[in-house]
């Protein structure tokens, strides 16, 4: 037993041990700063260059040979439409795959191999997806260099992210809730649709947005499938044509997207185009941040109702 007279010794031990706390928190702050400062410097630099260029005309003009007249209309419309196709195809596929692996798949070596491969898919360079899509979607299925091809390519790219996020958020549901549902006499599908999906939706949504935020900035696979860099027209408005065939005209339209527009402008010799690229970059980052903001808001709203 320590005596009261050992108080100074105890304090010395505590202060020595606490030095590691201090050391580690400094190290942590330093690592954080590397990331945050790099982003801030890049973003501020881009904003200083680009923000003065932002105007109503910049958003409503097609690209042009004259930098002052050039705008991002076809690029932001293209980005939104491609993202729409990506979300509509990747979310159902990814969530279904995640639910299947967690709730239905037998636990055997085949499932293990599938699981390992899904993790590996997340690490494949995006250009490889571009090559796959060029062969498969553009030529084999004959979708051409269209919004559909681009959307499906990006969907493949973010599928592993959504599958992994779905599985993680399903695993976060306590086993007791699971068992409670089955004990009531529910089938697996009733358990999934009444409990698993509603309770994991916040986590799945986060994964979807992280995936989409990655997809929105992807350039390489989109260039690989042959997106045009100069598009001076808009596709037909989605779902506006004569149903049923006319509603889907837009998915076969040629297109460009924000990062390709930026890439195109930065490769021009004139300095004015660099300003355009910075402005487009600012808009792109803003789109990503807006998506993340939406995700945080929705997650907060969904989580409020869920307590174990």
């Amino acid at each position: 037993m320590l005596q009261a007279t050992d108080l100074n010794a105890i304090r010395a031990i505590i202060s020595r041990a606490k030095r590691w706390d201090l050391f580690f928190s400094l190290l942590g702050i330093l690592s954080l700063m590397v990331g945050i400062l790099t982003f801030v410097v890049l973003f501020v630099d881009m904003a200083i260059q680009g923000v003065p260029r932002l105007s109503y005309e910049f958003f409503t003009s097609f690209p042009s040979r004259r930098a002052a007249n050039a705008g991002i209309l076809s690029a932001w419309v293209g980005t939104i439409l491609v993202m729409l196709v990506t979300a509509l195809s990747a979310v159902p596929l990814g969530v279904a795959a995640g639910v299947y692996l967690e709730e239905y798949a037998p636990k055997n070596w085949i499932t293990d191999i599938i699981e390992i491969n899904i993790s590996n898919l997340a690490g494949i360079p995006s250009i490889v997806y571009g090559l796959l899509a060029l062969g498969l979607f553009v030529y084999y299925f004959g979708f051409g260099q269209s919004i559909l091809s681009a959307g499906l390519t990006l969907a493949l790219l973010i599928l592993p992210v959504i599958i992994v996020a779905t599985r993680e958020s399903i695993r976060a549901i306590p086993q007791a809730i699971h068992e409670a549902s089955y004990a009531c006499g529910a089938t697996t599908w009733q358990t999934v649709s009444d409990h698993i999906l509603p309770y994991s939706s916040a986590g799945i949504l986060t994964g979807v947005i992280i995936g989409m935020a990655r997809a929105i900035g992807e350039t390489a696979p989109i260039i690989t499938i042959g997106a045009l860099t100069f598009i001076a027209f808009l596709p037909n408005a989605p779902f506006a044509g004569d149903p049923p065939a006319g509603m889907f005209d837009w998915i076969f339209a040629p297109f460009t997207v924000m990062p390709i527009q930026m890439f195109n402008w930065t490769s021009r010799p004139e300095a004015e185009f660099t300003v355009n690229a910075a402005a487009a970059g600012f808009v792109l980052v803003f789109m990503t941040l807006a998506m993340n903001g939406l995700a945080i808001y929705l997650r907060y709203q969904l989580r409020k109702k869920i307590k174990w």
């Binding site: 007791a176 809730i177 409670a180 009531c184 006499g185 109702k305 174990w308």
Partner: protein, 261 residues
């Protein structure tokens, strides 16, 4: 038949049941009767197989790979169905036998929806019918007076004891033939425990009860029959008073008097 059980009808019989978790032989030729409208308690030290046996009754083990019913069965009366037979759908079994778990596990839904869920999986959609059944289940679980004016609040907002009674209401709503209780009070304070115990004794008017407890006083207070298990074997089954006052086996006596376990 055991002494003192004349006049009690059999609801189910466990017959020479063997059960494995992978290679682990968790239940060894367990045999015991379950009497209709009585409370039967399963007691024994941790790891003796009492929860394992309980979870055989609603085929909870089917949810996990590697679990195996290896021989014998549970015969359910009056229809003589073997609950563990591969031809019997586990969902059919769970429709007839409901369960209350160790820790209160209400769904993150409203109080109303928690109780109504048992009925919804049985295809009930009529609003007034649901309302009536939810009300009577909540009354049966002695919770109605506390929640009647806040049925649309989340179940998780209730206290621990109330949550457990909500889970009992959920188990009761579907008019099961047996309710299984897996140490239902081990996560509750003494006052909540007393209210659950009182409820269990009242419930046997309506339903047969099988309860696992690690608390021997609880078994003595609320059960009509007690089974003592050890290392996956049924050591002794009998009328609760007999088991606690003059057990026939030395092992049971050692456990009950606290010399062991």
């Amino acid at each position: 038949m055991e002494a003192g059980v004349e006049g009690s009808l059999l609801k189910a019989e466990v017959r020479e049941l063997d059960f494995f978790y992978g290679a682990f032989h968790a239940l060894k030729r367990v045999t015991m009767p379950i009497y209709d409208h009585k409370v039967t308690a399963l007691i024994g030290p941790s790891g003796c197989g009492k929860s394992t046996l309980l979870r055989c009754f609603n085929r909870m083990h089917d949810l996990y790979p590697g679990n195996r019913y290896a021989g014998g069965g549970i015969v359910f009366h009056p229809d003589n169905t073997n609950l563990l037979s591969p031809e019997v759908d586990p969902i059919e079994v769970r429709m007839r036998i409901s369960m209350v778990f160790q820790k209160p596990n209400p769904f993150p839904k409203t109080i109303y929806e928690n109780v109504a869920y048992s009925l919804r999986v049985r295809g009930m959609t009529n609003k007034s019918e649901l309302d009536g059944r939810v009300e009577s289940a909540l009354k049966g679980a002695a919770l109605w007076n506390e929640v009647s004016n806040r049925l649309q609040e989340l179940g998780a907002n209730l206290s621990g004891g109330q949550q457990q009674r909500l889970c009992i209401a959920r188990a009761l709503a579907s008019d099961p033939e047996i309710i299984l209780f897996d140490e239902p009070t081990s996560a509750l304070d003494p006052i909540a425990t007393a209210s659950i115990e009182e409820l269990v004794t009242e419930l046997k008017e309506k339903v047969t009860i099988l309860i696992v407890t690690h608390n021997m006083q609880q078994a003595a207070r609320i059960s009509d029959f007690t089974a003592y298990m050890y290392l996956g074997e049924m050591v002794e089954f009998g009328v609760t008073d007999q088991i606690f006052i003059k057990p026939t086996k030395k092992a049971t006596e050692d456990y009950i008097t606290g010399r062991f376990g």
